[in-house]
């Protein structure tokens, strides 16, 4: 009788698993289709405009070659410089900020943390007009959009302290104290003891700091103000999608999309293990 019930449970389990898997497969197909579609279009050479079929009739690398003869090169470089500089600077500032808030006790520490939390709740778009004004006065718009965008991204980076502070809080303070007695300065404590222990969160910070500017569109477009030399890839490539351009550039646009996705995908695949650990570790323990 027990065995019977056991068998019953087993088949019920199997049935529910089957349903779950079918559902998951459908969702993944829906989710993956656009990517597959874009990759396929990027290799199509017979037409440059949208067609009624998915599989190209003629395959080739023409679209990719055309990318490198267009302004895309400049946009890509712009984006890469912005993302890389932001990633480095934001990571340094954010980790230092988090360590400070986690370990030091100073006047107004609590109010400062709450203030930043509340500030962070306002949509960034609200600041666009005044930020543009400031950047314009500094001469950091249009052709100089790249340093302008780096400045804007880095300036507010300290406010994203929560996740890494939460992670740092879980590392016992006595490790800092032991290291300080051992002769380490505060900075040595951070990079010799705390950061190696917080590797997942460091990688999480680098990844998010890199991906933010990499996919930025609204602000980047606003700061570049129609000057192609100041575009990043998102803004530049969007200019190919206007009514009078799309028929000329559609497949090149798809090739650009693939190239844009590549570094982020590679970065993500390499660091995926730490990324998951970083997000969940910080959240649960923090």
């Amino acid at each position: 009788m027990n065995e019977k019930r056991h068998m019953g449970l087993k088949s019920l389990n199997r049935a529910s698993n089957t349903v779950i898997y079918i559902l998951l497969i459908i969702i993944s197909i829906v989710w993956l289709l656009p990517f597959v579609f874009i990759v396929l279009q990027s290799f199509r050479v017979e037409n440059t405009y949208q067609v009624g079929y998915v599989i190209p009739q003629q395959w080739g690398l023409d679209n990719y070659i055309r990318l490198w003869t267009s302004d895309f090169k400049r946009w890509y470089l712009n984006t890469f410089i912005i993302a890389l500089a932001s990633a480095v600077l934001i990571t340094i500032i954010q980790l230092c900020m988090s360590y400070t808030l986690s370990r030091f006790r100073f006047k107004l520490r609590g109010p400062l943390m709450r203030f930043m939390l509340i500030l962070g709740m306002f949509p960034g778009m609200l600041t666009m007009i005044i930020l543009y004004r400031v950047l314009a006065d500094l001469g950091l718009t249009q052709t100089n959009a790249v340093p302008g965008l780096i400045l804007v991204g880095v300036a507010s980076s300290g406010m994203g302290y929560y996740v890494s502070k939460g992670f740092f809080d879980t590392i016992p303070k006595s490790l800092d104290e032991a290291a300080r007695v051992d002769g380490a300065t505060r900075f040595q404590v951070l990079y010799k003891i705390i950061l190696p222990l917080a590797k997942p969160i460091v990688i999480y910070t680098i990844l998010t700091a890199f991906m933010g500017p990499w996919g930025d569109y609204v602000f980047a477009r606003y700061v570049a103000m129609g000057t192609s030399a100041g575009y990043n890839v998102a803004v530049g490539m969007y200019s190919w999608l206007t009514n009078d351009q799309i028929n000329n550039w559609y497949t090149t646009f798809c090739a650009g999309g693939v190239i844009v996705a590549l570094p982020v995908t590679i970065l993500f695949l390499c660091l995926q293990k730490y990324y998951v650990e970083g997000v969940t570790g910080g959240a649960v323990k923090g």
Partner: protein, 373 residues
Amino acid sequence: MASVKLTGVKKIYDNKVVAVHDFDLDIKDKEFVVFVGPSGCGKSTTLRMIAGLEDISEGTVEIDGEVVNDLQPKDRGIAMVFQNYALYPHMTVYDNIAFSLRLSKVPEDVVFEKVNKAAKILGITEYLTRKPRALSGGQRQRVAIGRAMVRDSKVFLMDEPLSNLDAKLRNQMRAEIILLRKQLDTTFIYVTHDQTEAMTLGDRIVIMKDGYIMQVGTPTEVFEMPKNLFVAGFIGAPQMNFINTKLINEGGKYFVEPFGVRLPVDGEKGEALAKRKVQTRDIVLGVRPEHIRLAKPGAGAISCTLIVNEMMGSEFHLHVETKDGTRLIVRVPTVDLNKAEREELVSGHEMAVTFEGKVMHFFDPESQTNLLV
């Protein structure tokens, strides 16, 4: 090797809580001083102020004659062992011990020599390539001690280093700390809440309560001449029995009358009372459990009923209740009793106890201080 001097040291936290009040202490070169007291008495805070991990609100700390109040921990010439070991989890045992040497740019061959020497002394050579998580509690504590050893510091600070270990390991490590102290021959300041550790390790013991020093003295001094009721109760296990009674002065001869039984205070204690011209008065009488003897019922014996008998192996801890309901603890060595006497010791057994004048302690019920200190 250095002396440590604390003058009027005070710790006031931001929320105005005073953790340590006017702490004055002179620690001599190569002395082993133990801070002991219940949790929250300020002993760890005081140690951390000496280490530089906690700001000093008032007063000065001097190490080797130099005021170190504003010096960073690394510049104070101290080494410290933490309660939770505080080993760096991402480094091997070797790297943990070598950390401070590398920070001070010691050549790698000297580092190698020093780490191996420390490891040999502590018996952890075979674990040098392991990470701390692959070690047992006792081994971790050895690594923590090793890390402190290689610094060749002037003062060795230990913050409850044994309290995370199990009882057996604690006894073993305690003996090893005594040996270590002989080898290092430096000044030690050791914090613990365990009076056994304090008694066995310390040249001098500082007993603290609520941020105040209750008594400073050698283990013998604090055991035989506790300054007040707190020290008397804190040092010694099981703790001293306290009896509210009267001290009677009859023409220079002294008596106490616990539970209506008149006992003479003769010998040294009687002379000391006479010298101080103590008059008849109320007192709290203190007697240690090991100083109470079993007696035959009759004159000079306090009759009582046995409540609980704890057999400790080498001795019995007898919890007895007197006629007025006061509980006393009596410690009787097992070898002092024959088989028949042992078998009598069951709950409800009517018995009698007594003690002599030389083992009595006299405290003022108001100020709680010892009348003879």
